[in-house]
Chain length 430, copies 4
């Protein structure tokens, strides 16, 4: 099933130095139009507006996830661990390479507004009438289905699923290192080589040799830092809000029968809720940015202003609150309406929340199917959930750090400062 | 003239760790729509199709050039070198920040086809009706003109020009380090801190302390390596050829009255040769990619095929020749026509040539106004051109390494292999 | 008081890239015999026997601490913070450069056995008849006393003391980064530049701007990792035990009137408890290793064996226990004596303990004079101890992770395995 | 012959991240007293007095050379190249690990003065009554001889010799990267992974795939830079001169019957010219430094002064000349004698010379047995010497850059400045 290339192909990669392709199927998958499209989808959505280095694409990341998976499996094969099912190599590599192929423009923004789901699109692309599907089918009639099953976590060998999606999978390991490299922050660094060395296949899942516990701690700490310093950076949340507002507004206008001066066919399909796989694949960061560039000249002033703000990086400002409830927000919205601001667009509340590590609690449903826990393998005592052994992981497992951020257009508020209530003025430092 | 910000602003940068903005004018320039547009222009054009990490933009690079210039001037000020005209600080910083603001989509491709010139556009943006112009004018009525003069190398203080453009200027130092970082090659590394420490202002120009000679050698070697390993990589040249062919074909069709299914207004202006500054600023990598995505469905099969090739990365293949003359190419073109290939599009010859260092030779005009030589300052003997002191620089100064590459669509050629002449088949390994 | 050098001196440093010396006093201090001696004292004692890269000296580290202090003060001066007493610059730099000048061979081993104290020796060297003393006195008759006061934490400006010794001082920041670099572990990495940017002088102490909280978290996590992965590595503890045993045995023999075949005069003085400053300064890693090399041929078999073990790296092995009490150890010692092993030398118990961060608890005395807490400066609410704001720091503040390690000579035990009790055999995996 | 360890051993290495030991013989060799002694021999002799980070030992370097050799052979085995004799793996690994085991204190100083040769000592250790010899003999009675033959380049499989010693061998690749890492200079960086990927076994030697030519160019440039920036740094040459002078003076005194206050037995044997292997092995950087520390108190003022200078880093200063002949030096020596300086010790001339790459010239004997040239493998044209293909290598092949440095004790000269000839005063800037 593994058909070696005559000569291995090497991609120069700034994070892993090199990505090695040794199998013909992988090589062909990389060269499909659907996979090449990932070059036009940024890995970190609008984060480049906060960290200017974060301009890398899902293409690089997907190669990286593949490479980490390849290294893990190589280590398993080199040591001839009997718990690793050798016949699962190709399906594992394909699933890790393709796991993000269904991502849309700017990653998650469209999903929020139009309630689509990139994982579903990934499976549709793998199973639909696409070049990827044809390459996978060359392996075996049933092979595309198997790859899709790994991605939707229903594959009958859970060890393959846990390689591609768990709390310490190839996906997370690549994105932490890659996003740290491109943003230039050095919080996200951990010892990948060490972690790869301590992973072991064990009775249908992947576990960590006990001596690797500190390496896992460092990985979870890196993850914690990247979340708070990069992924949840309030300025990035601000640009995400703008992006979602643009799509929200354009969708509203479309539903209301507004006639756009410029509307790409694939966006029309999106607004219609009638996207085909082919339409979806023609959506990328470029088409969206180009549409925004044209919409600056639309007649709807709100849409035009949002697009101008996005392209010229005139983001909403924010204030930070320790606590915040819905009645407080409602009150602000009323005030916004009173002074002539748009309560639906000129005020957004956000509270990013993350669990650095999600302890599996039987019966509660948390840490369940989606996020199997990290397991330690102790020669004496067998398998143990890691937070039972590591005081520091136990300490951070429950942290979630939710502050409240209120976003608003500062220039607009400034103009109306005089008619604001005194307490609002103080809150917004006016 | 230098108006310090209340608190300095810091950009996280993966190459220089941090970029410090201390002056209000610089801060305002970064926040203009014209400067923000550089986020949508890739620094290395189509190179990301060869080195997948090379997805960084001219925005990052421009900040980097500014930062290096700032560090050089800081060193001059800290040591109170009397040959540095302190009043030139702001104009130097502005020129280094803005020197690339006129770059078009995919950097140089459009310039080749439509004979425009990014330096001229840079000056038009600085002097025209733009936010950048308005910010510069706040400093002084004449200030925009002074910044433009630095960029077109006519400024009356040559030391300022040599900071921004010479054979070892802030521009080159940043792009070598940055492109090495993002591609992941480690040839382009040299000791920036060391070079910054050995630069000295001296009688209207910038020279290198003699003890810094080896550091300059390392810089020139890094440059040599980056040119041959990255900038002149034959696969990158291949994607550049495709890009230029698309513009060439689209321009031809437009002139011939072809009716495009999709044509953005700014591209129409480009084809008309009637671009205004505003039109030009609305062109970026996104608009071009979006146009290509639509053109895949155009009726002209050549244009559609070229666009498909570009977006899906189905590049032309190449063969390498040690020598090649025009009669040989003409003969191949005749054969191409005979077997039904397009001699104007299905065959391109390319021979990248570079001088690692251009020795100034008085009277010959080389190394002249555009590329002043690198000068060493020796306490005993005064100023000397560096290749007179360094055997290794002298050795590489004359190198240009011109091989010949012939690019062609392999699938098309393969289909017609049987009707090719035998020697052509052998040449193309068919 | 600050006497600038005509030209600043630059040391190439692998951790900080460069160390800048701008003052004549600092330059002269570095060139004293007492400071040069630090080149012959390893920074991490016997750690090089576990991590072979850890061969760096206290000389490098001392330059690094000086450089970090210099950068902090520069930032304070550049921003003209009024709470920084500018006249304290030189005393701060001298104290940071000299803070380790009293370290003995292999850092802490001698201190344990002979109950000396490197901090006291540092002050004796600064105040005694040494080149360092003479250089300091050139500044001012009282200057040596002031430098010594900073080191013994009695200086009347507490802000100077907190620069050189606190829970996030220049000393710790340098050693975490330096030890990570030389051992090659990448746990100890944190963003030094960022931390330096968020430090502020404030009412007699140094505080952290609130936005720097995550950077401090990353620093404390790096510290935690370095302690458990490097400083408390059980193999390093094993070589430390051997070293202390050699000194213990040699001291015993000397007290008992044993006639050494080889005894350097400074070691005789050490055994006599009569070390002068000059004697102490002639002790370094070289002299100790040379003595051990000669002692391999001493008549006392225990001393000879310990020295052979140390030089040839035949370390004691260890077993790990979750808990352990003194009666258990006593029992093992009786068994050791019964089977002919030396209960005083062939069995050592060790339990490394560390608090990642020591919260100041008024009234309890912890976190007191020696380790002032890390303070956050919040514009609204003023000063707050950091663990009150950071959940993660609060979580790890109480961790101490004490496992128990029992060290023993495996070959000797193996030979006697048959006469061991069954439970002992099992415990030691024999 | 290859006896795999039950579990592979991993050394953390800052340069290669990890060093993997998979064979029992290698593991045992590392644990011999003779190999552990390399921890007490600095890799770069006295260079740490110029670059304070350069405190690393021959132990680290030897592990690194072994690791690079292991990686090269792994690549050969993975690709099943038929020109690689698989049965030569263990002998290659042992030779690469042990190639420096005969180095004496401070590397080359003793060799110069006492005309010994570290390569001969390496073979004596491998073939003599040592733990290393016994481990090798366990493999096969004849195995020690085979390892020694590789080291003295008489082994009957030249491909094994070229792995361990050629112009681009594992030794050079490790020391360039390692010395760059520890000194902190970043000139010595090249793409090791890339070079390892392009090496091929070919008809009894190792060649480079043609596409690897630029990588070799980068390697040779890195080598050139390291020679001129680090290895030939005039300050390092100054400390080397002191070291040789100490040994020269001590040897003279010994021959003249001087009675040393302190003389380690192994140094006595050295002076007698009667070193046994066991004596030699007891010499290391520590013993030499300890001897110098004691000799500061010797009655011979010259020896005492030289030792004081060395330990306290009071080096000779130097002047640089473009040309210099022996009559000029003789004249200076006469002047030195006239003014009461010691012409044999207070004046040394040095002119470091290196060829970055030594082209093989048949018939001339250069580039001969010791330094086989680097060969390119071209699919069309077969094997070619690299300088025939690379203009840049051809350009630098002949460079040798010999300046002349004159070293002298500045303080002594200053005291006598008034009685110097005027031209001498000017030459020495007095």
């Amino acid at each position: 099933m593994f058909r070696p290339l005559e000569e291995e192909k090497v991609f120069k990669d700034p994070v892993h130095h090199a990505v090695y392709v040794q199998d013909d199927t992988i090589w062909k998958l990389i060269n499909t139009p659907e996979f090449q499209r990932l070059r036009r989808i940024r890995q970190l959505g609008t984060t480049y507006l906060t960290f200017h280095g974060a301009e890398h694409s899902r293409f690089s990341h997907s190669l990286g996830v593949y490479e980490i998976t390849r290294k893990i499996i190589n280590q398993f094969e080199r040591n001839r661990y009997k718990d690793w099912p050798q016949e699962e190599k190709l399906v594992s590599l394909c699933a890790s390479l393709l796991h993000d192929v269904g991502h849309g423009p700017f990653s998650h923004a469209i999903e929020h507004v139009f309630r689509t789901d990139h994982e579903k699109w990934t499976c549709d692309i793998i199973l639909g009438d696409t070049a990827i599907h044809r390459v996978l089918k060359e392996v075996d009639e049933d092979f595309p289905r198997r790859v899709a099953d790994v991605i939707r976590k229903t594959y009958d060998k859970p060890i393959v699923v846990s390689l591609v999606s768990s709390q310490m999978d190839a996906d997370r390991m690549d994105y932490l290192l890659r996003d740290a490299y491109f943003t230039g922050v050095n919080y996200g660094s951990f010892d990948l080589d060490r972690i790869l060395r301590v992973l072991r296949p064990h009775q249908g899942t992947i576990v960590v040799k006990e001596s690797g516990m500190h390496a896992v701690e460092a990985y979870l700490m890196a993850r914690y830092q990247m979340y708070w310093q990069v992924y949840f950076h309030p300025v990035t949340r601000s640009s995400d809000i703008l992006l979602r507002q643009i799509f929200r507004r354009a969708g509203e206008l479309y539903r209301d029968g507004y006639r756009f001066g410029f509307l790409l066919p694939q966006l029309r399909q999106l607004f219609e809720g009638a996207l085909t796989v082919a339409d979806y694949l023609s959506l990328d960061d470029s088409t969206v940015q180009t549409a925004f560039g044209q919409w600056i000249r639309e007649d709807d002033p709100l849409l035009a202003d949002l697009c101008r703000r996005f392209l010229n990086r005139c983001l909403y400002k924010y204030i930070t609150l320790e606590s915040c409830d819905s009645s407080f927000i409602d009150e602000l919205k009323r005030e916004w309406a009173r002074i002539g601001l748009d309560p639906e667009y000129h005020l957004e509340m956000d509270t990013p929340v993350d669990l650095p590590y999600d302890v599996y609690k039987p019966g509660t449903g948390t840490g369940g199917k989606d996020k199997p826990p990290i397991l330690l393998l102790d020669e004496k005592d067998g398998i143990a959930e890691i937070s039972g052994r590591s005081e520091i992981i136990r300490s951070i497992a429950g942290l979630h750090q939710g502050k409240y951020y209120i976003y608003y257009p500062q220039e607009e508020l400034l103009k109306r400062a005089s008619v604001l209530r005194r307490e609002t003025r103080e809150l917004f430092h006016l």
